[in-house]
């Protein structure tokens, strides 16, 4: 999604999924710190010193919020209200055709029908 860096949410700042565990958040935080640290080569020729400072502040803010379960829950709720989240790993059906086949009741075979006719409590 096309966004200003100021508009990135905390998960995007740390480059983690919204379902990230505490360990993943810690890893994302460490990676973000190394990317935006003073004198980082990764920013050379692209990101100014002022921008770097601003992002680093937001990274700290993001980590402080996401590491605290209560604050994170509150933040997630606010985020959900703003933009619904669909986990990328969510199982989904590829076609409507398949959906119909999977959800259709099992076919009644001749054997099953006869069984039902002759056995009172199958």
């Amino acid at each position: 999604m096309l966004k200003r860096i100021e508009d990135w949410n905390y998960y995007e700042l740390l480059s983690v999924e919204r379902t990230a565990s505490q360990d993943e958040i810690w890893e994302g935080y460490q990676a973000a710190l190394s990317t935006y640290k003073d004198g980082s080569l990764a920013l050379y020729g692209l990101v100014s010193e002022v921008e770097r400072g601003l992002i680093l502040e937001r990274i700290q803010e993001a980590f402080q919020t996401l590491r605290d379960p209560d604050k994170r829950k509150e933040y997630d709720l606010a985020l959900l209200r703003h933009a619904p989240y669909f986990p990328p790993q969510a199982p989904f059906r590829k076609s409507v055709g398949k959906l119909e086949i999977e959800e259709a009741p099992p076919r009644k075979t001749l054997g099953a029908r006869l069984k039902r006719l002759f056995v009172k409590n199958p």
Partner: protein
């Protein structure tokens, strides 16, 4: 046929593009896969040397001048099974300033080569020829090293690619007046690309959407070559992350290839590195990279994620 065309490029010379191309080719060939390596470095070809071969004819120049009927005829056998090479041309002046129609012919023939794996070794810089070869591959791999000059040129190279992609679409949709606007705006600062799209969405949302989709369809990969420690490995990940955030393109980090003094020794001995150093850390990294690249076919072909229009 499941065809793979990989282009190995980058903004700076000496990062090891030809080394990566040659050794990827050697690795794939050792897996019984038919590979054609093309030395598309139009200014300074030397892929043959990395394979322990001498400069000779036929070469790419023979095909481009019409002496050979097809690119296939320029692909010569190498001492390695399943690996063929299209040597770079010795006629540097002619080749480096390749005419547009010759370039299109070359690109068409690359796609028509009967080999399932084609690896293009590109030259340094951001000439239209180099950029077009890079953009025609699926995917293009940018090789960089952990030095400020190399990182800086990587960003410049990617910016050039982005501008080339956008220009091609602008030409196609006959919105050439936007091109100058893009050139003026994009050089300003790190968020200028965002600024360009934002203002375009406000003035003409439909063209903004087309161009943004085109940009998201460009999905290069990154390799950090000559990594000396863990910090260098992580630097590659940081660069890919910065590219995703600031240049708005979905870049995949393939991994780092460790620095190895033996590479220099192999070069001096005019012997390819991979067959003699299969158990080295660099060879392992190349093997892993080829697996990642094989997977990245799906990565580059699937619909880019997060295509959601910004609110104008």
């Amino acid at each position: 046929m499941d065809k793979r065309i990989w282009a190995i490029g980058g903004g700076k010379g000496g990062t090891g593009k030809s080394f990566i191309a040659a050794n990827l080719g050697l690795h794939l060939a050792s897996l019984d896969r038919e590979v054609v390596l093309i030395d598309a470095d139009l200014g300074a070809p030397n892929l043959h040397t990395l394979l322990g071969m001498k400069a000779a004819h036929p070469d790419l120049g023979d095909f481009l001048t019409g002496s050979l009927p097809s690119l296939e005829a320029a692909a010569v056998e190498t001492p390695y099974k399943n690996l063929r090479l299209v040597r770079g041309s010795e006629n540097i002046l002619f080749i480096a300033n390749l005419a547009h129609y010759r370039k299109l012919r070359l690109l068409r023939q690359v796609r028509q080569l009967p080999a399932p794996n084609v690896i293009l070794d590109l030259g340094t810089g951001s000439s239209f020829n180099t950029l077009d070869f890079f953009l025609s591959a699926n995917p293009g791999v940018v090789v960089t090293t952990p030095e400020p000059t190399s990182i800086e040129n990587t960003y410049l190279f990617l910016k050039s690619c982005i501008m080339r992609v956008l220009k091609l679409y602008m030409d196609h949709y006959k919105i050439r007046d936007l091109h100058q606007k893009m050139l003026d705006q994009i050089e300003k600062n790190s968020q200028s690309l965002y600024g360009f799209f934002k203002s375009l969405m406000e003035t003409d949302r439909s063209y903004g959407t087309i161009l943004y989709r085109a940009l998201r369809g460009f999905r290069p990969c990154l390799v950090m070559n000559k990594a000396r420690d863990q910090e260098d490995v992580l630097l590659g990940r940081s660069v890919a992350d910065v590219v995703r955030k600031y240049l708005l393109i979905d870049m995949k980090y393939l991994g780092a290839v460790p620095f190895d003094e033996e590479v220099h020794d192999s070069l001096r001995a005019l012997r390819p590195y991979y067959p003699d150093h299969r158990n080295s850390a660099a060879a392992k990294a190349i093997r892993q990279m080829s697996e990642e690249l094989a997977y990245s076919i799906e990565f580059t072909l699937r619909t880019p994620p997060e295509i959601r229009l910004p609110d104008a």
